[in-house]
């Protein structure tokens, strides 16, 4: 058995800024939000324990619709981005001059804030945007397609994929680059065609990276505010948008806090599910 490292005063001193920051700002803000959702720290009126705010959120049609909408956006954006990024990551596995160029272009969205990204894409897919105009000019469609603010949320998903593709691509590329050429060669030598190599070698070996990418994407898209504001449907709004409406429009800070806690709980649940699943995938190794 390895002896545990001793916590010397020096080490404790070094840890204070980092740990202190986490405990103070993150820990305290999360606990205040949780307490607020239970009726404490009330901005107006008197404070005291109550489940009333939870009840009114969980029985509100709008809040439930927002929750379902955000879940849908989270899941579809995360699956969609990984589906688009994985073949690209495989393509970029072997570097080449043309690929270097393409690789730089693909990374551009990484440096554009989400809100700006949303407006950029807006020009493309809005009712009178580039795509619709082109399709109409070419007489392929008679009437513009509704790609933005559609009730399902395709506009949001499209922008999420566009915006987060490079980020997910980076994660997947590093996962794939750790797969050795010899491993692929051995599989081919033993008779594996392209599909077998993909499903039996690439995907399982890149699975930790795929999972991380999906989790991070889900959390981003689930808690999204700017992209849904610009490109989301008129109804329902995302949970984050709903929070803003509750707080700013209705001054219902406690109900907003309930929504905030729901986002936090969902995030923690997803991370927990991920770690369980990662254990399963990795088995004993």
């Amino acid at each position: 058995m390895k002896k545990k490292d001793k916590m010397t005063p020096f080490i404790i001193l070094m840890l204070i800024p980092g740990v202190g920051f986490i405990v103070f700002f993150i820990g305290s803000s999360i606990s205040i939000t949780v307490l607020q959702s239970l009726g404490f720290f009330n901005m107006m009126g008197e404070s005291g324990f109550t489940l009333g705010y939870w009840k009114s959120i969980l029985s509100s049609r709008e809040a439930i619709d927002s929750l379902l909408f955000s879940l849908r956006m989270g899941i579809l954006s995360s699956v969609g981005t990984v589906l688009v990024a994985f073949p690209l990551a495989l393509f970029f596995r072997k570097s080449g001059p043309a690929k270097g160029m393409l690789g730089s272009i693909i990374k551009v969205p990484l440096f554009i804030p989400a809100l700006v990204a949303a407006f950029l894409i807006l020009n493309l897919i809005s009712y009178h945007g580039l795509i619709n105009t082109t399709l109409m000019r070419l007489n392929i469609i008679d009437e513009p397609l509704r790609m933005l603010n559609d009730s399902f949320g395709w506009g949001v998903i499209t922008i999420q994929i566009w915006k987060n593709l490079p980020f997910v691509l980076l994660i997947l590329m590093s996962a794939i680059s750790s797969i050795r050429d010899d491993t692929i060669d051995a599989a081919r030598n033993l008779g594996a065609g392209y599909w077998s190599v993909l499903f039996r070698i690439y995907i399982p070996l890149a699975m930790p990276g795929i999972l991380v990418a999906m989790i991070l994407m889900f959390i981003k898209a689930f808690g999204d505010f700017p992209i849904t504001s610009v490109a989301g449907p008129v109804y329902p709004s995302s949970v984050a948008n709903r929070m803003q409406i509750m707080a700013n429009l209705y001054q219902e800070w406690n109900q907003a806090a309930v929504l905030g806690v729901i986002i936090i709980i969902t995030t923690f649940f997803v991370i927990w599910a991920y770690s369980r699943f990662a254990e399963l995938v990795q088995g004993g190794a």
């Binding site: 051995a186 081919r188 033993l190």
Partner: protein, 352 residues
């Protein structure tokens, strides 16, 4: 099972010529070893046969089928990689069964074959482990098991035993050889261990800088090296230049720097009178205190290294250094003057 033929094979990497016009024919069920120093093109040749590289020139034949453009998964070869190349996410069992799964073999049949090969390579206890939980030698045996279990047309081994300890190495190489004979699979085996090559092969291909220096059975390669490189690479050799003074049938009198020698070139290309030749002989061909052989040499012992069964001798003859061996009882020490006899058939005449 198939014959294997390489004709005029060339493979470049940018400006490096890794394989340089190689011709090789391997009979059905034959065990051929590629032997040569690091970087001479052994792995490249093997990978071209497996289909990972397409040749820049020349052809690869299995039987009478040209394989040049057939992808690796459509060639019935199994390669044991120098780096093992095990699948890190699969158990030992799943690694070994991979090739059988790809061949869509029924599970019951797979089980029998896998258990047999695991037993043969002492892997039976390790089936559930992942490659990361194995020692280097165990990983190597899994790689070996994974390739031979598929019983392909051509087995390709890239230094499969380099990480085993000496005892296991001998044991496993005997097993590889027996299995290959039993199944009659054509095998190409890469090594840079010459003892291994001599022990295991039907024929040995000596490679140097992408070219083939000599092809022959182990006896011929050892007893009759054809080039200076082969003579120096396999075993120990004394290599000298000389001028042919006299030719009588296959017997030549050669003037060497340390004195004249009588060489019987029977079975070799007999040189012309007046030609300058390179020739070699083995240290063990110098028979100590042998008065009957045609060539008599007396030398000063510079160094004597006792090796147990023999004594390694570094001697000096008329100012020229050479190596000899003694299995004589009498203890020899540096400074002794010792006479040797060398038989006239002991010499090999070498090409450049």
């Amino acid at each position: 099972m198939a014959t294997l033929k390489l004709t005029n094979l060339v493979k470049h990497f940018d400006d490096v010529v890794a394989v340089d016009h190689i011709d090789l024919e391997v009979a059905d069920g034959e065990f051929v070893t590629l032997l040569g120093p690091s970087g001479c093109g052994k792995t490249t040749t093997l990978r071209t046969i497996a289909g990972f590289y397409y040749p820049d020139e020349g052809e690869v034949y299995f039987g009478d089928r040209i394989m040049n453009n057939i992808p690796p998964n459509k060639r019935d070869t199994a390669m044991c990689f120098q780096s093992y190349a095990l699948f890190p996410h699969m158990s030992v069992w799943d690694n070994i069964s991979f090739g059988l799964k790809m061949r869509k073999m029924p599970a019951s049949e797979q089980k029998i074959k896998i258990e047999r090969v695991m037993e043969m390579l002492s892997l039976s206890e390790l089936g559930k482990r992942k490659p990361g939980q194995l020692s280097g030698g165990q990983q190597q045996r899994v790689a070996l098991a994974r390739s031979i279990v598929t019983e392909p047309e051509v087995l390709l081994f890239d230094e499969p035993l380099s990480n085993l300890d000496a005892k296991l190495r001998v044991q496993v190489r005997v097993e590889i050889r027996e299995m290959q004979k039993r199944l009659g699979i054509t095998a190409i085996y890469v090594t840079h261990d010459q003892d291994e090559a001599l022990a295991i092969s039907d024929r040995i291909v000596i490679m140097e800088q992408g070219r083939i220096e000599q092809i022959g059975d182990p006896y011929t390669i050892y007893r009759h090296p054809e080039t200076q490189f082969v003579a120096g690479f396999i075993g120990l050799a004394n290599i000298f230049d000389g001028v042919v003074l006299e030719v009588e049938g296959t017997r030549c009198t050669v003037q060497a720097p340390f004195g004249n020698v009588l060489i019987n070139a029977e079975g070799q290309e007999v040189p012309h009178k007046g030609a300058t030749i390179h020739f070699s002989w083995r240290p063990e061909d110098m028979k100590i205190r042998d008065r009957t052989s045609k060539n008599q040499i007396t030398g000063n012992v510079l160094q004597a290294v006792f090796m147990g069964d023999i004594t390694d001798l570094f001697i000096e003859v008329n100012g020229y250094k050479m190596r000899a061996q003694s299995d004589d009882e009498a203890k020899i020490v540096a400074g002794d003057s010792v006479s040797f006899g060398i038989a006239e058939h002991a010499f090999s005449i070498l090409r450049e």
